[in-house]
């Protein structure tokens, strides 16, 4: 029994199940009489469906076939703008858009049948790029292709240009990125008008799926039940997408009266589901000749794909993070999310911030160079401190020491010595092909929790109940997707109650059993929901102490005895805790100003790269990730988050290229969409600093997305250091590096 488990490397709670192959993911489940479902998808990017034919030598009468006409409720995925249909009804707006559903007992026959459905489309002109959408080459959504826009306006940017010593501009682009959780999307549904709908699936947010299916079926809340199965990775790719696949499985189950399982194979998952929003950022920056930021004008655009889905929220986060951990009196950020005829883009770890931070941190190196300062000197001139305000005029109310983080990160990475050594060695030539080396960094922050009043709007609830045996059950909708939810909640509860690890149970998220603690996104699970876990279990203790059955100082046997007695007397012991915002958090949704996030984690990432003159490959050789995170709840889990996030960010920068052909991902196979293998990853060295956040459990801030933000700009800054060439688009493949080197 670990006393005071907070801060300790307590082993993963469900670890044993996972290492023995006993953990049950959705495709491991089976029901009697179960049918296999498949989704038939649009072959074209945009147009009118003129005919659907069922060809081939297939026993079609044995099949369950569902079209938009079979939808009992409303044909849209309830999310923000509700513009995405579950099944295309007459028109399609992106390749691979779901048109109809098939189910049959024989899983091989279902695939054969899918191949034999022909959907004919009278094509309309389509738009495939962000630039074409902005240029309104074709209006494909709403009046002007714009899902959402924001304007952040601080001070007076227009006046600042005149008094600037220097004005530096830059344009930066990021591409789409596939989440590539190793477990593909899947759902199993049982549905009928009498009992309602139950869906088991791989997901991050059971209550998002619940909300969507309520509308799809037109049923009351209590008739829809969503159960999360063990989930093999999410990274945002299973935030909103599961609502679609769950609804599809449920529609087939509803029509057939049988359980239906839909599991995507890798090719379908890659081609049809959400990806990270591509982006384009334009910076215009005014500085004094001493290197002080005077004004920043930022134009930030993201490509949302064919339907709105979560684009407004991704845009929001990207917008708020666009100006970074710097003091600048005049800031204007003008941002837009636009439509294109590709499968809708969606949540992916970082959620807009990796895109805008990439642009910013590349641009800051450019500005530094223009002013004649080193990247380090320039940052130090402009870092934000306690008492100063961000781009949204949020007052920083905690001690922030970006200078200290930077000093330590540069020390740990041996930055100065390496910079000097590389400069010398890169000059030397041996007549053949050599490896150039470089080192670069990025400084950034990441806000945890929902933006502004988002957490208040969510009204998250966590419940705790005690059993007669003295076990404590945590009931929350927050899902374990590998990040450590189960373990962290157990540590928090165990610490708060002084109970053994084994005495805490985490109830599998099931909307029929647990309250809505909000979605498992936005780096909020430990910081926001963890705090509710703490207060819910403390509520149990207070109830027991208040009842006189438990002394204020107690041990575990006392607690067990008190639970048994209380339940014998009163029948049950259950408490709930509802989110309360910290005081003094004010956010203006209209002006997009104020306290955007309750807490920021602060970071400096340093990348050392080599560049191979023969193959034009850039490789990360060493990586230092330094961050201040409030409090480290579990050092193994926390480091695991940073290491995993940095690896994904290295992929985002140098390996992962979505090849588009007529709006469709052409390289939708793991052979051709490249993520790093164990042979490709550098040593990732992780360091934490602590500065407790008063409203996080144990002082913790959220960290899940932070590691996605800093690697890309640090790597490209290092590549510029190695080669002397400025690259401003990612992914940066050897082909692109070669173009930059030889022209």
């Amino acid at each position: 029994m670990t006393a005071h488990p907070i801060g300790k490397p307590v082993p993963r709670k469900e670890g044993r199940k996972k290492v023995t192959g006993q953990a049950l993911y959705v495709d491991d489940l089976s029901f009697p009489d179960m049918l296999h479902g498949a989704t038939v998808r649009s072959p074209a990017a945009r147009g009118k469906i003129t005919n659907i034919s069922f060809d081939g030598d297939i026993p079609w009468d044995e099949f369950v076939i569902v079209t938009a006409k079979d939808i009992p409720g409303a044909n849209y995925v309830a999310l923000i703008l509700n513009d995405q249909p579950y099944l295309a009804d007459g028109f399609v707006n992106h390749p691979e858009e779901p048109v109809l559903l098939l189910a049959h007992k024989d899983k091989y026959l279902v695939e054969e049948a899918r191949r034999n459905v022909r959907i004919e489309i009278e094509e309309l002109p389509a738009v495939f790029s962000l630039a074409d959408s902005l240029a309104k080459k074709e209006i494909i959504w709403g009046e002007d292709n714009v899902f959402k826009k924001f304007l952040v306006d601080k001070g007076n940017v227009d006046d600042a240009w005149a008094s600037a010593d220097l004005i530096i501009e830059g344009e930066y682009e990021t591409g789409a990125q596939e989440q590539l959780y190793i477990e593909n999307n899947g759902a199993i549904a049982i549905a009928n008008p009498t009992e309602g709908v139950t869906v088991w699936g791989s997901m991050q947010c059971p209550y998002y799926v619940h909300k969507a299916l309520v509308k799809l079926f037109g049923l009351p809340d209590e008739k829809i039940r969503i159960i999360q199965t063990e989930t093999g990775g999410g990274f945002g790719g299973k935030e909103e997408y599961p609502s679609l696949i769950a609804g599809h499985a449920a529609l087939l189950a509803w029509k057939s009266g049988k359980p239906v399982k839909i599991i995507y194979d890798r090719a379908e998952d890659m081609v049809a589901t959400t990806k990270r929003h591509p982006s384009r950022t334009r910076h215009k920056t005014a500085v004094t000749k001493d290197g002080k930021l005077l004004a920043a004008e930022i134009d930030f655009v993201i490509d949302g794909g064919a339907y709105c889905t979560l684009s407004p929220v991704v845009l929001s986060r990207g917008t708020i993070h666009a100006a970074g951990p710097y003091v600048c009196p005049n800031v204007r950020i003008h941002s837009r999310a636009v439509a294109t005829n590709v499968p809708p883009h969606g949540a992916f770890r970082g959620f807009g911030a990796p895109q805008s931070i990439f642009a910013l941190e590349r641009h800051m190196d450019k500005v530094a160079h223009a002013v004649g300062l080193t990247p380090e000197e320039f940052r130090r001139h402009n870092f934000i401190h306690e008492g100063e305000t961000t781009a949204t005029s949020q007052l920083i109310r905690e001690p922030v020491d970006m200078d200290g983080l930077l000093t330590r990160a540069l020390q740990l990475s041996d930055y100065h010595a390496k910079r000097e050594r590389f400069a010398r060695e890169n000059e030397a030539s041996n007549g053949g092909f050599s490896k150039k080396r470089g080192i670069g960094f990025a400084t950034f922050m990441h806000g945890a929790g929902f933006t502004g009043s988002g957490e208040v709007y969510l009204q998250s609830v966590v419940s705790a109940e005690a059993t007669a045996e003295g076990k404590v059950r945590i009931l929350a909708a927050s899902t374990e997707i590998g990040q450590g939810t189960n373990t962290i909640f157990t540590q928090i509860a165990s610490e708060a109650l002084g109970l053994d690890f084994e005495s805490i149970e985490i109830v599998q998220p099931d909307t029929g059993r647990v309250p809505n603690s909000g979605p498992t996104v936005a780096s909020r699970t430990s910081m926001v929901v963890g705090k509710l876990v703490e207060s819910a279990v403390l509520g149990l203790k207070q109830t027991l102490v208040g009842s006189g059955l438990l002394p204020p100082e107690y041990n575990e046997p006392d607690f067990k005895k008190a639970c048994a007695e209380y339940i014998a007397k009163f029948g049950s012991l259950k408490t709930s805790s509802t989110y309360q915002p910290p005081p003094n958090v004010h956010w203006d949704d209209e002006k997009y100003q104020g306290d955007a996030y309750g807490a920021y984690a602060w970071a400096v990432y340093v990348a050392e790269v080599s560049f191979d003159e023969l193959t034009y490959e850039a490789r990360v050789e060493d990586f230092v990730a330094m961050q201040e995170v409030g409090r480290v709840l579990n050092p193994v889990l926390a480091a695991g988050q940073i290491e995993g996030g940095v690896a994904q960010a290295i992929g985002f920068t140098l390996f992962e290229n979505v090849v588009w052909k007529d709006g469709r991902m052409a390289n939708n196979q793991m052979t051709n969409y490249i993520i790093p293998t164990p042979a490709d990853i550098p040593p990732i060295r992780v360091f934490f600093e602590e500065n407790p956040y008063a409203y996080g459990p144990g002082g913790a801030k959220g960290i899940g997305e932070l590691p996605m933000d800093g690697a890309a700009p640090a790597i490209l800054n290092a590549i510029e250091n190695a080669t002397g060439i400025s690259f401003n688009q990612i992914p940066l493949m050897p082909e692109g590096l070669m173009k930059g080197m030889v022209g």
Binding site: V19, G21, D27, G232, Q483, G484, M670, P678, I681
Partner: protein
């Protein structure tokens, strides 16, 4: 057709299509769902099993070819309740996060240590190069393997 083979020291006979994937036969007919499908192309290693003493991607093995073979799946790694040192290390040192790559990764690591009891970091990276993980960034998987052989 009828195929007979040994899985985890137990003889099993199945009636299968000859070209059915060993992965599907293990999961669906033998209900050994510990072996996972991640890609169906032999890239991710989530479907790794040991076939006649060597690790293979079971998504690429037609069941007709395993008639008379010896197969070990993740379910056969622990001995009753006693976990293999690799499994225990993965729990203790963060080698598993979401767990979907873990069965394949554990089998590849056990195979590596059987052939090379004290591998260098480069040998660990090479030995696991056929197993992709999206959660961990591999660092704690390497550490888990090292801790396992140090035990």
């Amino acid at each position: 057709m009828l195929i007979t083979f040994n899985v985890n020291n137990e003889s099993r006979t199945v009636d299968v299509f000859p070209m059915a994937r060993l992965l599907d036969v293990l999961r669906e007919q033998l209900h050994l769902t510990g072996t996972k499908e991640g890609c169906g192309e032999g890239e991710c290693g989530a479907c790794t099993v040991v076939l006649d003493g060597r690790i293979v991607n079971s998504c690429l093995v037609p069941v007709a070819q395993v008639d008379g073979s010896e197969i070990t799946t993740i379910e056969g790694v622990a001995h009753q309740d006693q976990l293999h040192a690799v499994q225990q290390a993965f729990i203790d040192h963060g080698g598993a996060q979401c767990g979907i790559c873990t069965p394949g990764m554990v089998l590849a690591a056990v195979d590596l240590l059987n052939r090379n009891p004290e591998p260098s970091e480069a040998e660990i990276r090479n030995g696991l190069a056929g197993n992709l993980c999206r959660c961990t960034g591999y660092m704690k998987i390497f550490e888990s393997v090292v801790r396992a052989y140090q035990k």
